[in-house]
Subunit: 246 residues, 2 copies
DNA sequence: CGCAGCCTTGACCATTATCAACGCTGGTGG
DNA sequence: CCACCAGCGTTGATAATGGTCAAGGCTGCG
């Protein structure tokens, strides 16, 4: 189920978990700061390949992940196969925070990547001793909750075009935070994955992508990257101009 | 904006915040346990009437609420008035956890009720000194996130009937946790509010309610309460039978 | 008892899903 | 290095779910 697994516990150099160089909060990073060897002894640094399953909905929730490279898809299924992708994770993101004793979602790698993996029991023990970490996680959970609310607005009330535009705006912002200029946007996921994230079909995603292309709002560079030619028009289509009207 | 406001700080009796008797976690309760007078000095115990606005989307996020009585609606708006209700809060629930420096949602009372209100600055200060509280909040945020994911599946992939059935199943579970038998379900919200929660219109909610009534799955008692006559059939309609198929 | 607002029902319409066919693309093996 | 091909993406035609518009009924409050 999990690919190459390299335990990153070490005798005690500064780089016990050197591979974990996430941009945002990295547990490994925090650990290095704090010099807590105990959790390192329980943390694996794993590598995964495209399509690999990190977490399966319904399985006992034994682990927690911190993505360190690559992108991951998190989704839920209905019994007849209908799928809803609830999020895409990038390096620095956590996987498994919102779980009881069983995972409520599946997680699969979009492409090759890596992650820090902790056992939940160890994580809990550490939390008790590191209020600072808990604070950071609460903060992060709050952000995720806000993002989930935005997505609920999108899924419940936006048109197909508004959904696609909102999605692209989100990707653009993510790209900018990751160091890009916000025009060049990578699309690591397939049309089917975009559709399952936006509550649409591949056909509808495709049609609206074409419409944006025709109007000159975006330009497709390859199948998995595009450039935003008219950002303001895209924002307007996303319905984000005056969303906070109240 | 806020109705009758009674500061509940007191000289120091055991009942400084006696009105706060929420069923689940109550900050006031924890505070009493811990004997922390400091936050009490910063906490109001407010009462609100039906329709009263507790929080307005876009306003500076200065306060945090813990509902102690009544029900509250949390929603987001698009500039043209389309509304998505992201949650209904009951006594014990928190309002304002998922916020940056501005509220990302509005909150309005469904009926009369009350809440504990804290200033965010005080809340942050206390958190630093009460890791136990932070732990409880993280736990709660995780649950909310899970609920948000379920709602995303509902909004993105379920049919109108499945949405309504899922909603009623959820209400039934909530009623049971609140001490009921799970058959008698109170509906404190209007059809329009149900519609805005499920991403539908009032007409569609009404039609499907009628369909459930005709099939004998539910029975309307008053406009704001119903009884579930065939729970298993309702579960099936909700698509919850094998949701965790993976 | 009356009325305003909410709820229900009906007729029709629009957006998006579905079904189908074709084209592109990128990875693989000859 | 090129050609093949499986899978992904696009486009078109048609269908269906749910939305819109409209009218009438109920209900609960004053």
């Amino acid at each position: 189920m999990i690919g190459t697994t390299t335990v990153c516990a070490g005798a005690g150099g500064a780089e016990v978990c050197g591979g974990c160089s996430a941009r945002r909060l990295s547990v490994c990073g925090v650990l290095e700061q704090e010099g807590l060897r105990r959790l390192n002894a329980a943390a694996d640094h794993i590598a995964f390949r495209a399509g690999e399953v990190l977490v399966r909905e319904g399985d006992p929730a034994t682990h927690l992940f911190n993505i360190t490279a690559g992108d991951v898809r998190v989704h839920k299924l209905l019994s007849d196969g209908r799928r809803q992708i609830v999020g895409f994770l990038s390096p620095g993101d956590f996987l498994g925070l919102a779980t009881g004793d069983r995972y409520a979602f599946s997680a699969e790698a979009l492409g090759p990547g890596s992650a820090c993996r902790f056992r939940k029991v160890d994580y809990r023990k550490i939390l008790r001793e590191m209020p600072e970490l808990e604070h950071a996680l609460l903060d992060r959970a709050a952000h995720e909750l806000k993002a989930a609310h935005d997505q609920m607005l999108l899924l419940g009330r936006k048109t197909a075009m508004e959904r696609l535009a909102s999605f692209l705006v989100g990707l653009s912002e993510r790209a900018r935070r990751a160091g890009g200029d916000g025009r060049l946007v990578p699309l690591p996921m397939t049309r089917a994955e975009i559709a399952d994230y936006l509550g649409l079909t591949t056909e509808t995603v495709s049609r609206n992508t074409t419409r944006l292309k025709t109007r000159g709002v975006i330009r497709l560079l390859t199948m998995h990257s595009l450039s935003i030619e008219r950002p303001s028009e895209l924002l307007q289509l996303a319905g984000l101009e005056a969303e906070a009207a109240g």
